[in-house]
Homo-oligomer: 308 residues x 4
């Protein structure tokens, strides 16, 4: 094995070529577009960006079909002070490209991380994974708020300097609780993450909150419906347990899938151990899904997703 | 990377220590037992084998619970001419150990590979994987017969020297077809493998065939019920597709799971490509399940399995 | 689990929307380009294709760096009778785009699968995997020839209708053997696959053969140098064994990596079993690498690869 | 093929049935033994435990070879107040079983978690993973101390209530620094974990510390020797990056491997992103290795390991 352990000093582990000046987030823009596939899109977008002094550094593209498909594109580009020019670009693009092709599109800047609220109940693993990755700089977002229907995780959130709001939810007060949540969220965040929030959000809430909601879910092959899925999985001898991160929709857990993963288990794991392994998968799957979302990589189409 | 490519000669790739005489299959025995967990089992079994001149070379054990659990054990042992002494061992074991502990147990010999019939329809991938692994010596079994409700795969089976029997199945003749299948199978094989056999076997068939039946099945997280599962999976943006090998039971596809695996996919795969990836997983999952079964590694308990 | 097994008939497993006329391979083109990254590339290429009546259906792009990077693009497009127009497109592209940007580029047509020769010694697993996938239509290439330094696998190759040429190699005749191989290969094939060919190809051979050569190799973390790698791996208790497919270069096994994969093992596997698991990984890794190459997805840059 | 059970991890047996009174750690014992394989071992051990009122709840066994192999066994058993009776059991076992078979063996109790010291430099990911899992009750050990050659991670350690000792290391003071480390460690801990401690521990230190030392290491297929391995890996286009946890030996990074894992990467990841992915694998691989060690699952033999 390669020694990365110099005998007497902490040598830098990786030696990259002498870096040029790193690019400021202020100068990094992203453009995502979606429309019916048709000739000339790529050329038009590339031309627009070139004319506006933007240098494309990353481009992902996908078309669902060669005929009558839906077209998706994500572009990362460098452009001086783009963070201050988003409105201008947006207007120009509409006039010069967007309307012509009937596009849905968004310009964002790396200087404005998504504002994210995390909803959680009592399980801490997903919440802590997000807080920790964010703190270490691995997951660029601005966690503005943790909302919970329990007090249990207040200290965890606050130790990261994140405000924690306890909003109890019962059968009786559910509508009122959602109203209070909406007061805090609607218009104030760009994303809500259900990090094992064990309450169903109503269709009304999802519609009123005005931003995407990502949920994380244990998953099996096949699914085991109803309560006690780990026990049911155990009782049939499953060899894989997994997790699915998806956008929440009115149809509960049937929204577009962003990311999935599994781990291998055997007859030796108890139900409690299956749950622990499941929790490990959940936290890494959720973290990846949130990261991709925050990097504007995820576009939805019908009930499906394209990750660029 | 390690050169395994000597410049001028095909040197053996692996040099193990000078091997002792390899053990003859005739001298290799296997004992599997299952019973309520209770003190003294391991000692009694080990004592019995020692007294009968058997040297344990592999031992797997599992108990479902520390209190009132079910106990499973698989032992591989060397014992001269054990292939000729199975009946004797069986009788002695019953008298000295088995009855005392209320065990279900089986002695087998490596000299008698399982007799296996493969049932198949039109997809060739699972059939060919089994035939090929068997031919290369990687999967020790005696494939005595391929039964299909179509003629399509006759040449494939026969090119491996395996008899192929075409038994058409229609709504009208299903009972008669199963009767003909049973004539060929019951008492003549130790295992039936449904290698993408696209007909439901009746509960009567499963009961009459007198040996385990292994089935292979595409699997998703979550399952997509009904026809066209790959299309449905595509439409929800699944990121993993998989396969499950299980014992067939009267409840269709809900029998004890032997093995599962998945592969990662993305929005870029078409439905046809998802099916192709699914076929790849199916063949490796089925091959592993059949191999474990043929090596007496799989024991069932309720609707679950223990793999030792 | 989802029943894909209708009771009385082999219903189609997947129901896609009523397909439009499938596109003829004759009408499918691919363009790969590589050059120093610079503004306007994407627009120029897209413009060129649009003007030539080509409809882009798949586009992959990558730039190694935002400043002074190397740019890679792979485009799949539909264009009537493109198979007959490759020379015309090639010339036009040089004049209108290629020279301006200093591009290396290639037009190919799906109607002309790559002509592939497979070199093999005695291990059959990689050879058979390629032959089989090709026969099933999963791996689009034209296998024109199998060359071996042994007679062992003649029947295997010929059973697929592929010519088999035995060219013995010894220390004495190596140069002569390579000359004979080159006679068969140079100018006649687009790709050579070393499917466990246990001879080192000389730098002269690699230079004279005039097409890429893909090799497959067992791999470990870390590597175990010298003879008997599986034994060495066993002796250090490795938990993963893997395989690497790469382009062969004069530096033996240090060429650009196309694909890698691993499987999990434990102390329970014997050296022979490790080798068997290794062989399984080798065949799937090699098959994927060959497929990506044949689909013009792999571009090399320095000693690295970009897979689009 | 041996069933692929990466999760030898996580032991206590399955609790499906509504649990009886949970067993007190005070009543849970573990016995690990190792000796030349010979007839009668299993029976003798099982007999001894039965006579001493111990009820075996988990048994793992492995023999390296059917002839002249090395034998390993791990037993978990329930026995009232075993935590107070370890010395008695140890003496009795020596007299009745251990000496006869020439065994190395150890009795431990679940009531005495291993005392663990963590050595770390500046990377926090491995340290935090261990602290966090320990805090959540997922990793049963008693973290008594964090030693670092830098001040950077003091707040992290102390926020978990774990003492942090800063011992700077330079070329000049290395011997003295190790002496100070040994003062804190030798006799006071059962395990030292190098959680990205970027100094080489001398052979003298390893010998004097008197307990096992686990190290974590990035790993590739193949290895990339020398400084800057991630850059080298990037430059060859590796598709997998991984990590290896192993016991530290005088031969630096060539000690017995406990656990390994990999993640898939592509040409799209920058060197910095490869390092981030590598860090993720490192923390999960190290956590598993430490857990297995703390559960007495890992036995070494020559330079290899058996995980039971």
């Amino acid at each position: 094995m390669v020694p990365d352990q110099p005998a007497f000093a902490d040598a830098p582990l990786v030696t990259t070529a002498p870096a040029a000046e790193p690019v400021r987030p202020h100068d990094i823009g992203r453009l995502t577009i979606q429309c019916a596939d048709q000739p000339g899109i790529v050329a038009a977008v590339a031309g627009f960006l070139a004319e506006h002094g933007a240098n494309i550094t990353e481009l992902g593209q996908f078309s669902t079909d060669s005929e009558n498909g839906e077209f998706f594109q994500r572009t990362v580009f460098h452009c001086e002070n783009v963070a201050d020019r988003l409105a201008e670009l947006d207007g120009d693009f509409a006039a010069q490209v967007g309307r012509r092709f009937g596009m849905t599109y968004t310009f964002t800047s790396a200087a404005s991380p998504k504002r994210v609220a995390i909803m959680v109940s009592k399980y801490d693993h997903c919440l802590l994974e997000l807080l920790w990755r964010n703190k270490r700089g691995d997951l660029d977002m601005d966690i503005t708020l943790v909302i919970s229907n329990h007090e249990d995780l207040r200290a965890d959130a606050e130790s990261f300097g994140v405000p924690f709001v306890h909003i109890p939810v019962s059968r009786a007060n559910k509508a009122e609780a959602e109203a209070r949540q909406l007061e805090l969220l609607a218009g104030n965040v760009d994303l809500v993450v259900m990090a094992r929030y064990m309450q169903i959000l109503s269709a009304e809430f999802l519609s009123a909150v005005g931003c995407p909601v990502i949920n994380i879910h244990h998953s099996f092959l096949p699914a085991f419906a109803g309560a006690g899925p780990y026990l049911k999985a155990k009782e049939r001898g499953v060899k894989l347990i997994g997790a699915t991160a998806h956008y929440a929709t009115a149809n509960l857990d049937e929204g577009p899938i962003i990311e999935q993963d599994v781990v291998r288990v055997s007859h030796r794991e108890s139900v409690a151990e299956l749950e622990r392994r499941g929790a490990e998968v959940e936290r890494s799957v959720l973290a990846r899904a949130v990261q991709w979302h925050c990097e504007d990589r995820v576009m939805t189409y019908g009930n499906s997703t394209t990750i660029l």
